[in-house]
Structure formats: structure tokens, C-alpha cells
């Protein structure tokens, strides 16, 4: 007779007592949740004991459950060490989920509109608890994912794992690599800062070079949503970033992983006879079961990798945010993201269509069809000297081209502009002026002529002589006219004179000396040059710094000064045969609270 009019838990309690009945029902729930393992089975697994009942309950979650149905129930023990996988495939999946989770957090605070995107970034950084933390994680994870996916491909190539029967697995892997690259690249635009706008402008301009022209023009228009990247372009990149490309990525991850399981993870080449594939035939004594060994190992690696990421973003690294994007101002030294530097380097070799589109196209197409071209059966290193050499050449080329993509290579800007805008006070990066502590920016006018003195004692005299010299040759008047006229600097002109850097500003003196060094280094192009740092108080907590370079113009051809027989540069002369004196002046402002030196 039931307690209630129908059979229930209470009958069990009546029959077995509360404790036993409760335990049984909990056990039952656990077994349902795990699709086959009860509390005792789990305890045994975690203790490293053999299962106490047959059939082996540790296999049923794979057979009956959803979550583990795609995971193999056991692995070959040559596969579970660091070699041959280096965990790179696993890490790629880890970062896919890592990026999804951190990305969703950021989506909550983001609007894909040029009006709001940048202020959203500021809000995330200044007003959202854990906002900077999540943004840093997302950005660092993206860079790490690009690196890891690439290394995963390299590893697969080196161990010959793309060979029969895994050709299609490799093919889907190349699609995953492309998706990863495009995901990372499309994410660049979203903060809508200068870095975003110009990195993406460089990238998207390659779409324009796709031949024939009608295709290139329209692909470019579709991608950017107009001739210039604006509201439409941002929205499109956003949708690609959060919707289209992730969809492709997840679909191909599924295909890729399914293929990995179907064929089994490939064994180290030396373990198999040539032409055989024994990954699916794992002898009993070499099996490592997923439950508990692989699973505990993976959970441990999730914890450790996450910890490493968190330590990095908490103590060592923050995602950069430059100033608001400005299509009118191109910061000097703009580059593509580092993983596209090789394309930027190739572009410097010549034709945009060939080096920017066809060349990368050939590379990626070569990668896709590689397993169908290289059909030799042996995966052993000794038998694959040719392909391994090709791999090494391609890798070296990528490194060399990436170096060539740096602004230091092959881009010639006039020396004065380079010193002012790259070395001293770049618009976006720090340079050497901004990190000078605010209290060492002592109001006054200082000149690199100070360092022409033979020793420290003579500096004051040298500067005094310099003052007289420029007053005589008219450079002082010209300098003052430039500063106060177009520069709108307020100066007491009558009393304006250069002085030596005070002794309590060692950092300022050091920077001025570096400035002197830059001028010396470029003395062929900047003949008889002197530089100056003029510091004035603009507001109570705001100083204005005018950086001056004055030099005699020399004859320049193709970006390099023309040298005479003695290796000296030749002065350019005006109509009357006099040297032409040039001035380049840049001013920046530094606020007491800007804390550039803390970076």
C-alpha cells in the first residue's frame, strides 16, 4: 500500500529509511546526468582504481551521452605525451571557446557604430568592472590563437599527418586557419581607434586589388560598405566578426574534429610501418582511457592555461587603445597586424595585385591542395627531405617577408620628420619625450648644441656662444617667427635664450642627448643641424613642448642625400647661391596626470 495514492519516493523512505532512499535517488540522478556512471563509478575513476562492475561504466558516457559522444573512449599512449601533438590542436579549441566567452562579455558593452564604438571602449576601460581585464583576455587570446593555429599546422606538416587518409582533415584545417586569421583581423576594426582604422585600411585595400578590376572594386565596396570605411564598413566587419566567421569556424571545427576521430589522431611517424595507418587499432596494453586520465588531464590544462592568461593580462600586458580613428591623419609607421606583416613585406616588392593578392592566394591554395600533391606514402622524416625543405623555405620566407613588412624596412621618410614623428614624439606610440617625468619638464629652452661642448664645464659657454651665433645669422629671428606665428606660442621674445638643462632634470638631459645623437646619425641629410626642446607652461597642469630641428637643406635624390667624392653631402643653394635654412617644428602637450612614464 503506497503512502500516497500512487507509488512515490515516500514508499522507498518507508521501506529503506530516509538516508538510504535519499542516497539511492541521488545515485540515480548522477547516473542519468553522466549517462552511465554512478557515484561509486566516479569515485573509483578519480581514485585511479579499475572499474568494479562490468560492462565498463566508463565507456557508457561515450556511447549514450551527448557531450562525450564525439570523444574517443581511449587514446593510443604514444599520443598522450607532449610529443607529437604539443597539445596545439587542443589549445586551438580551447582558445575558440575562450574567445567566444570573453567576446560575448564585450558584446554586451559594444555598439557597432562609429559614433559610439570608441566611447564604448572608454566606457569598458573606465566604467565596467573587469572591462579592461576581459578586453585584454580577448585580445591576447586572439593573438595567441593565431599563433597556436599556425603552429598546429606547422606541426601537422612536419609529422606528415596530412597524408592519406587525413587529406581532407588538413583541408578543413586550412579553412580554420583562414577563419582564425580573418576573425582576428576583423576584430581589429571594432575599437575604432587609429590602430583599427589604418590596419584595416591596409588590409581592405588588398581586396581592391583582386583581379579583374570589376571583382576587386565590388569586393572592396561590399567589404567596406562604401569607398571609405565608415558606419557601414564597421557594421559589416562587426557582423563578420561575431556571426558569419564564427559560424564557419564552428562548422569546420566540427568537421575537422569528426575527421580526426574517424581516422584517429595520427601516431608519431616512427611507430608505424610505411604506408600503414594503425591509429585506430590500439593494442589493449597501450590504451589510455578518456575517463579518467584524459579528462582530468584536460580539466587540469584548462585551469593552467586560463591561469597563465590571467596572470599575463593582470601583471604584464594590456591591449593597446590608440586615439579615436581619424581618416585625415595617418600615423607615421602604420603597419598591418603582425600575422599579415609578411603580405605587407611582399607588397614592397612591387605590384599590388601580384604580391598582395595573387601571391598570398598561391600560398593558401598550395596549402589546401598540399596533401593531394604530396602523395608519397612515407611519413618518416628521412624520406621527406624535399617536402621538409620546402616547409623550411616557406617558413623562412614568412619570417623574412614579415621583417620586410616593418616600417623600418624600405620606407623612406625625410630625416627631420622621422626624428620628430617616429623617434621623439610619435602621434600614437610613446616616443622618448612623453615618458619624461612631468616635474623634469623644466620650463625653458634647451638646445642640442649643448652637447657640442668638450666637457660638462664648457656647456654653459657653448650654449651662450650658440645664442649669439643664431642671433647673428638670423636663425633666432626665424625660429621666433615660426614659433609665435603659425605655432601660436606665447613667448617673451626679448628675453628668449637657450640655456643648459638644469641638473635636477637628468631624464630631460638624457633625451636631449639622444636627440643630439639622432641629428648626428642623420648628419648627411641634416647638414649643420641643431635641435631644440622648448618647454612652456600652457595651463597650471599642462606643459607645451616645442621640438625644433633646424638644418641646411642638401641635395636629395630618391630619398637619399647625394654625396660628393669625399662622401660629404652637397648643400642645396637658393637663387643667390646661399644655403637654404630649414626649420621643422612640432609641438605636443603633456598633462601632469597623463602618466606616460608609467607605461
Amino acid at each position: 500500500m503506497s503512502v500516497l495514492p500512487f507509488p512515490s519516493f515516500l514508499d522507498d523512505v518507508k521501506e529503506k529509511g530516509l538516508k538510504k532512499a535519499s542516497f539511492e535517488i541521488a545515485d540515480d540522478v548522477v547516473e542519468r546526468l553522466t549517462a552511465g556512471m554512478n557515484v561509486t563509478d566516479i569515485r573509483e575513476a578519480l581514485r585511479g582504481e579499475a572499474p568494479s562492475r562490468r560492462p565498463n561504466p566508463r565507456l557508457t558516457p561515450h556511447a549514450d551521452g551527448f557531450w562525450l559522444h564525439i570523444r574517443p573512449s581511449y587514446y593510443h599512449n604514444s599520443m598522450t605525451g607532449l610529443y607529437p601533438t604539443f597539445r596545439l590542436g587542443w589549445l586551438s579549441v580551447y582558445f575558440t571557446f575562450f574567445e567566444t566567452i570573453t567576446g560575448i562579455f564585450l558584446m554586451i558593452f559594444y555598439t557597432p557604430s562609429p559614433e559610439f564604438a570608441y566611447s564604448n571602449m572608454l566606457n569598458i576601460l573606465s566604467n565596467v568592472p573587469f572591462g579592461q581585464f576581459m578586453r585584454d583576455l580577448h585580445r591576447l587570446g586572439a593573438e595567441a590563437m593565431v599563433l597556436i593555429v599556425t603552429l598546429h599546422m606547422l606541426r601537422t606538416f612536419i609529422t606528415g599527418s596530412y597524408k592519406k587518409p587525413r587529406q581532407f582533415t588538413w583541408f578543413t584545417g586550412v579553412i580554420l586557419l583562414l577563419s582564425t586569421l580573418f576573425l582576428s583581423f576583423s576584430g581589429y576594426l571594432l575599437p575604432w581607434d587609429q590602430l583599427a582604422l589604418w590596419a584595416v585600411t591596409i588590409g581592405a585595400s588588398m581586396a581592391e586589388a583582386v583581379p579583374p578590376q570589376i571583382v576587386g572594386t565590388n569586393v572592396n565596396l561590399l567589404l567596406r560598405g562604401g569607398p571609405e570605411i565608415g558606419a557601414n564598413g564597421l557594421l559589416r566587419f562587426y557582423l563578420l566578426h561575431v556571426l558569419a566567421v564564427p559560424a564557419i569556424l564552428f562548422i569546420f571545427i566540427a568537421v575537422h574534429y569528426y575527421k580526426v576521430i574517424v581516422h584517429g589522431p595520427s601516431l608519431p611517424p616512427r611507430e608505424e610501418n610505411i604506408g600503414e595507418d594503425t591509429a585506430k587499432r590500439i593494442p589493449l596494453d597501450r590504451r589510455v582511457y578518456f575517463i579518467p586520465d584524459i579528462m582530468t588531464s584536460e580539466i587540469m590544462w584548462v585551469a593552467v592555461t586560463t591561469l597563465i592568461m590571467i596572470i599575463l593580462v593582470t601583471f604584464f600586458w594590456h591591449a593597446p587603445l590608440e586615439s579615436h580613428s581619424n581618416p585625415q591623419v595617418t600615423p607615421l609607421g602604420t603597419t598591418a597586424p603582425w600575422y599579415f606583416l609578411w603580405i605587407q613585406g611582399a607588397l614592397k616588392l612591387g605590384d599590388k595585385t601580384f604580391w598582395g593578392v595573387i601571391f598570398p592566394g598561391i600560398i593558401f591554395n598550395f596549402l589546401m591542395v598540399l596533401p593531394y600533391i604530396d602523395t608519397t606514402p612515407s611519413r618518416r622524416y628521412a624520406d621527406r627531405r624535399f617536402m621538409l625543405s620546402i616547409g623550411m623555405v616557406l617558413t623562412s620566407l614568412t619570417v623574412i617577408f614579415s621583417y620586410m613588412g616593418l616600417p623600418e624596412f624600405g620606407v623612406k621618410t625625410s630625416a627631420d620628420s622621422e626624428i620628430l614623428n617616429l623617434d621623439l614624439a610619435p602621434d600614437e606610440r610613446l616616443g622618448i619625450i612623453k615618458p619624461i617625468p612631468y616635474d623634469q619638464l623644466v620650463v625653458g629652452a634647451y638646445t642640442t648644441a649643448q652637447f657640442e661642448a668638450e666637457d660638462e664645464a664648457a656647456m654653459q659657454e657653448t650654449v651662450a656662444a650658440f645664442n649669439e651665433e643664431i642671433a647673428e645669422n638670423g636663425e633666432r629671428a626665424e625660429l621666433l617667427a615660426d614659433l609665435t606665428g603659425p605655432g601660436a606660442l606665447v613667448l617673451n621674445q626679448a628675453e628668449f635664450a637657450f640655456e643648459t638643462v638644469p641638473s635636477d632634470a637628468p631624464r630631460l638631459e638624457h633625451v636631449l642627448e639622444e636627440f643630439y645623437g639622432f641629428l648626428e646619425k642623420d648628419s648627411a641629410e641634416l647638414a649643420n643641424a641643431w635641435g631644440a626642446i622648448i618647454i612652456t607652461q600652457n595651463q597650471a597642469n599642462l606643459k607645451r613642448i616645442d621640438l625644433v630641428i633646424s638644418w641646411d637643406e642638401v641635395v636629395v635624390e630618391g630619398g637619399n642625400p647625394v654625396l660628393d667624392d669625399q662622401g660629404n653631402s652637397i648643400l642645396a643653394l637658393d637663387e643667390d647661391g646661399n644655403p637654404i635654412r630649414r626649420f621643422n617644428i612640432k609641438h605636443i602637450f603633456i598633462n601632469e596626470d597623463s602618466q606616460y612614464f608609467g607605461e
Binding site: Y83, E115, P129, F133, M300, T314, D482, N538, N541, L542
Partner: protein, 400 residues
């Protein structure tokens, strides 16, 4: 080799107990770091705000130099007759005489109350009361005027000469602006002052992209932060440094067609006893913009043509006056003598008077064939009387 490096690590994670331990330790460490981050978040966000605002003023300062300084002056002190000061205690509503102001406010409150009584048509006041009120109103006006005079007496005369009214010490009150000062500034930069050419030679343009200008909203906020950064403990010196105070929009009905009222107001602010109250200038004083005062001072100051040439170059005069943008330097004096002084508009001028006026108030007379507003009106605020004397001496050597 590899075994030696990875061996110990591998041993650590080889047994299941160790894996569980390492995993738990890593999770715990993660939680601890998250806690550490959480504790520091409020401080970090505050620091970010401070740093961001600081960098924003830097960007604003750069924009100010390129977009605003030509009219509002390089230090934001304004330029007489062109645009008002922003580095200005009046803009920030600084009250130099809080006690006197409190009395004025009390009187104004009283005036408002009895004036309302007088204006009440439903319950008209008795004739006796009317007389009482009228006399009281007069008395109040006199008292306010008396208080205002007390304030003026404590102010440097030069400040009053350029139009400072101690009763109108707050720009926002003057314009009946309902919001805060930063919003006032943002709104003014964004939308401009469409009718301000009624009282300035050039209207304040609309700078915001939303209003057809060139600046993005974030740039306008940078500018506003820079201007707000002028706020400080104001002293009388700050008031003296102001070259031009804001002009209250004058007679609404006169705008925008009839500008007479506004011109009177401008002329009034410049002429109102400027010469009468300002002390006589000496050689080292900044010349200012009062031609008569400078001319008076020049009677005792000797000019040096060589020094004048230096000043001429240092001030960048050659940038226009040798390149065709302005009248050519060569032959200036000959042309002044022969052509300008013959112009009926300059009847009664001396050559010196014309030159001085042209330097410190270039828009007063524009040489035919050249545009107005090109020559900066700010020379009176940077040159000393001695500089002017030197310049005049130099220009007198420019004969053909």
C-alpha cells in the same frame, strides 16, 4: 635532453592525484587573482579616468592652437574686437566680491517682489503705496549702483575699459543657460553662434560635424576639457590678463538686421573712459589697443629703427608684407605720406597715427586691394610701447 627538461613536469602530471592537485591549485590561484583584480578595479577605473581626461586636455590644447587661437588668443585671453576670452574668470562665474554680491542679490530680490506688486492689475495698489514703491525702486537702483561702484573701485581700470561688469560676473547667468558650463562650451563649439557677426567681425562658426563643421564629438569634448582646465583659484591678475570680455547679446529686436545697437555696445565698451581711466603708458608697458594712449606715450619714447627691424622680422610681419599677402614693406612710408593720408577716410591723421593704428587695430582702415581680417589684431597685446616706437621708426625708413 628534452626528457631532462620535461621529465619533472611530466612526472608531476603523470599520476591522476597530481593532475587533480595541480588543477585545483590553478583554479584557486585564478580565483585569488580574480579577487585581486576585483579589489583593484575601482581604483584602476578612477586612475584610467584621470589619465584619460589628462590626455584629452592635451589633444584639446593641440586643437585649440590650430582652430581657436587665431580668434580667442593663443592663451585664451581673447582678442579685442574679435572674440572673447575663454581663460576668463567671467566664463567660470568667479565672483570677486561675494559679500557685495550677496547684498546686490538681496536688493534685486526685493526689487522683484515690489515690482510684481506694482504690476498686479487684479489687486491694484493704492496711490500712496505706488509712490512708496516707486521711490523705493529708485533707492534700490541707487544702492545697487553704489555697490557696483564699490566693486569697480577695487578693480583695475584697464579691466573696466575692456568691458568687465562686476555685476555680470557669471557668463552662464548672463546668457540664462540652464545647464553646466562644460555643456555650454560643448554646445557653443558644436553649433557656433549663428548671429554673432552682429557683434563680432566674424561669427563663431559651427565646428561640430553634426552641424556641418569639421570636428568629431570626441574632439569637441577634448576642446571643452582643455577650456575647463583653465578653471583655478582666480586672482585679479587673471582678470587683468583678459583682452576681451564676452558681449551680451544686445537688443534682441535689433537682430539680426539692424546691428546699430550692437555696434554701439562694442564701441561703448572700448571707448568708455578707457583713456580717461587707464594710467598713462610708459615704454615698457604692453601697448594695448588704445591708439590715442599709445600716441600720447610715443611723445616721450624714442624709437630705434634697427631694433624695429628685428621686431618686424620676429613678429613674422615679413611673412605677409613681403609676399604680396599684405601691402609691401618697401616704400611703406612713401605710400602712407602720398596715398593713404590723402584718403578722405583718414582726414586729419598723422603718418604716425596711421601706422600705430594699423599695427594695433588693423581693421580700422584696410588698404585698398587687401582683405580685412587677415592681419592679426593681437599685436597690441604682445608689443610694448617701445616695440611700437621701434617699429614706427623702422617703417619711417621705408621710403622709395
Amino acid at each position: 635532453m628534452l626528457k631532462r627538461i620535461f621529465g619533472p613536469g611530466r612526472a608531476l602530471v603523470e599520476s591522476i592525484e597530481n593532475r587533480i592537485l595541480v588543477g585545483i591549485a590553478a583554479f584557486m590561484a585564478t580565483i585569488v587573482i580574480l579577487g585581486w583584480v576585483a579589489i583593484n578595479e575601482p581604483g584602476r577605473m578612477q586612475a584610467f579616468d584621470r589619465q584619460f581626461n589628462a590626455r584629452s586636455t592635451e589633444k584639446g590644447a593641440a586643437l585649440f592652437v590650430s582652430a581657436c587661437a587665431t580668434c580667442h588668443g593663443p592663451q585664451g585671453h581673447g582678442i579685442l574686437g574679435r572674440a572673447p576670452a575663454l581663460n576668463n574668470p567671467q566664463l567660470f562665474g568667479h565672483d570677486y566680491f561675494p559679500e557685495l554680491t550677496a547684498q546686490v542679490t538681496a536688493l534685486e530680490t526685493e526689487r522683484g517682489a515690489i515690482a510684481a506688486e506694482l504690476a498686479d492689475t487684479v489687486n491694484p495698489v493704492s496711490d500712496a503705496r505706488r509712490e512708496e514703491i516707486e521711490s523705493r525702486l529708485e533707492a534700490i537702483d541707487a544702492e545697487i549702483e553704489d555697490l557696483a561702484q564699490q566693486m569697480r573701485d577695487q578693480l583695475p581700470p584697464a579691466v573696466l575699459a575692456v568691458g568687465y561688469d562686476p555685476l555680470n560676473f557669471d557668463r552662464l547667468e548672463q546668457t540664462d543657460w540652464g545647464g553646466g558650463l562644460e555643456n555650454f562650451i560643448i554646445s557653443t563649439i558644436t553649433s557656433g553662434r549663428p548671429v554673432s557677426n552682429a557683434y563680432w567681425p566674424q561669427p563663431m562658426p559651427a565646428w561640430g560635424q553634426v552641424s556641418g563643421g569639421s570636428l568629431r564629438p570626441d574632439q569637441i569634448r577634448d576642446l571643452a576639457r582643455y577650456i575647463m582646465n583653465w578653471d583655478r583659484e582666480w586672482t585679479l591678475d587673471d582678470l587683468t590678463a583678459v583682452r576681451q570680455f564676452a558681449v551680451a547679446p544686445c537688443n534682441q529686436q535689433a537682430l539680426p538686421g539692424a546691428t546699430g545697437a550692437c555696434e554701439d555696445l562694442l564701441a561703448g565698451s572700448a571707448a568708455d573712459g578707457g583713456a580717461a581711466q587707464a594710467p598713462a603708458l610708459t615704454a615698457g608697458d604692453i601697448a594695448g589697443t588704445d591708439v590715442d594712449a599709445v600716441l600720447a606715450a610715443l611723445e616721450t619714447v624714442e624709437g630705434d629703427a634697427a631694433a624695429g627691424q628685428n621686431t618686424y622680422q620676429a613678429q613674422g610681419c615679413t611673412g605677409c608684407h613681403t609676399t604680396g599677402v599684405g601691402p609691401d614693406l618697401a616704400g611703406t612710408y612713401t605710400r602712407v605720406e602720398n596715398e593713404r593720408l590723402a584718403d578722405p577716410a583718414l582726414a586729419g591723421y598723422t603718418a604716425e597715427q596711421y601706422l600705430v593704428e594699423s599695427i594695433i587695430n588693423p581693421s580700422a582702415f584696410v588698404a585698398p586691394g587687401f582683405a580685412d581680417g587677415v592681419m592679426p589684431a593681437s599685436f597690441g597685446t604682445v608689443l610694448t610701447v617701445q616695440d611700437i616706437a621701434n617699429l614706427v621708426a623702422y617703417l619711417e625708413t621705408q621710403t622709395e
